[in-house]
Amino acid sequence: MAYVAIKGGAQAIEGSKLVYDYLRSRQAEDSQPLDTSTIENQLRLLHSRVISEGGVYHPQLASLAIKQAQGDTLEAAFALRAYRSTMPRLAETEALDSSRMRITRRISSAFKDIPGGQMLGATTDYHLRLMRMELLNESPEAFMAISRSWFEGCDVGQIPDTFPKVLDGLRQQGLLAETPAQPQQDQPFDITREPLIFPVPRSAALATMTRSEQGSLLALAYSNMRGYGDVHPTVAELRVGFVPVMLPHPISGKPMEIGEVEITECEVVAMYESDEQGGKPSFTLGYGACFGHNEVKAISMAILDRSLQKGMQGTPSNPSEDPEFVLLHIDGIDSMGFCTHYKMPHYVTFQSDMDRLRATQNKHAAEDQNS
């Protein structure tokens, strides 16, 4: 072990906690503490990121984690993971699909006309990235007026409850391989209970990516986009919405809705391939999904899903196709832990390093004198 146990410093450590807390309260005497509902609504994309990386869909605790971590996404996700580690597992849902998703946004970059239509929903995609100076001094009245006037003159009669999948249309046209009637694996890999020992099934890769750190996932997907890979994705469909979570009623046994979970889901169509069994060539696919509204994450995951499928079938030809390289380097809690451990006392090992260096320098000086 490279670090050592230390003793003492309790007073300083306690003081450090107080300083940490002091810094969030120094704004002004008349400032108010953040409430969790404000964090969930007004910082909703930060909230989504933490809920996704924490791996537990608990909106209130995700807000609390952001508050106590003072906005540090890695620390906040860590707190959520710590919470989950204290709770027993009571149940597992049947495999839910997103066909019943209560959609709030749905787009395709493959087709301009998709069944049910494209709806932009809430997005910054078409915003000018200019500062909105008016928000600097936003009055409570102006703030509340936004939601008050939002539904005026809005006809929702034509909007269906659910929408068909764009991929189904491509399948009907014979451009995608048929999905197997029986999935390859009935029981998915549970990364919360089993270590990743390679090779791992695709379900392990999907579960690892869905709770991975967004920046890490993006960086590896970006390497593929820039040329260290050849996925060349087209977003067949990106949807954001709420999936009802169903479990059997404890008495009737019939499926009941116990709540709903916001999800972002992305399907990318990638380069076509010949069928190894002699069938006709068809497009390949990548899939990404995660808790909350996280579009960059879902797209990155879909790209890496496709690149990892390729790597699992043969020899990886670049980092983003290598399951071990990708899956062992994208977890925020793991990587943060390793990084921050370097702040822990390494006094003994560093003393040893210095001793070795001095010995080497002495030896070097002696050799110089002799020569």
Binding site: R105, M119, I159, D161, Q184, S203, V245, P250, I258, F291
Partner: protein
């Protein structure tokens, strides 16, 4: 509304509404758990749409409770609930309402009224989401199809 939709309706309302309703039932009713009430996590399994393979998306809080409710006049009914929450009392309140509705125990009309209110709130949430779609439905046109002008 089916029994399996009751939890969804009741949890759509502010929490204090359910708490007040359950507190309003006679104090001498006997509420006994029939299984060990539990608070923990559920695991959400998803079927991805590329190859129809399943994987674990993540966990969610889960509270479960089953009870029998016996009124002061001896009427008895069983109720149960599962809810995405990590508070035992919330599951217990929902289980009591489940029993009251199923057994048509005294006060079931109040539960039904709250269910209707919750259902209306769910409808409102659904309309809000649909409004987001209706206001942002897009009809992109290719420039070459519209004479070089942005439609």
């Amino acid at each position: 509304m089916t029994r399996e939709e009751w939890v969804s309706a009741l949890t759509a309302l502010p929490e204090k509404r359910l708490t007040e309703l359950v507190k309003g039932f006679p104090a001498d009713w006997k509420v006994q758990p029939t299984t060990l009430p539990q608070v923990g996590l559920g695991m959400m399994k998803m079927k991805e749409s590329a190859f129809n393979e399943s994987f674990y998306l993540g966990e969610f809080p889960l509270a479960s409770c089953t009870v029998t409710v016996t009124t002061d006049s001896g009427e008895c009914a069983a109720g149960g609930a599962l809810v995405m929450d990590d508070r035992m009392e919330r599951a217990e309140q929902l289980a009591v309402c489940d029993a009251v509705m199923t057994g048509r125990l005294p006060g079931w009309q109040k539960v039904e009224a709250l269910l209707q209110e919750g259902s209306a709130r769910r409808e409102q949430i659904s309309r809000e989401r649909k409004a987001m779609l209706a206001r942002t439905k897009v009809d992109f046109s290719l420039l070459e199809d519209v004479g070089g002008e942005d439609a």
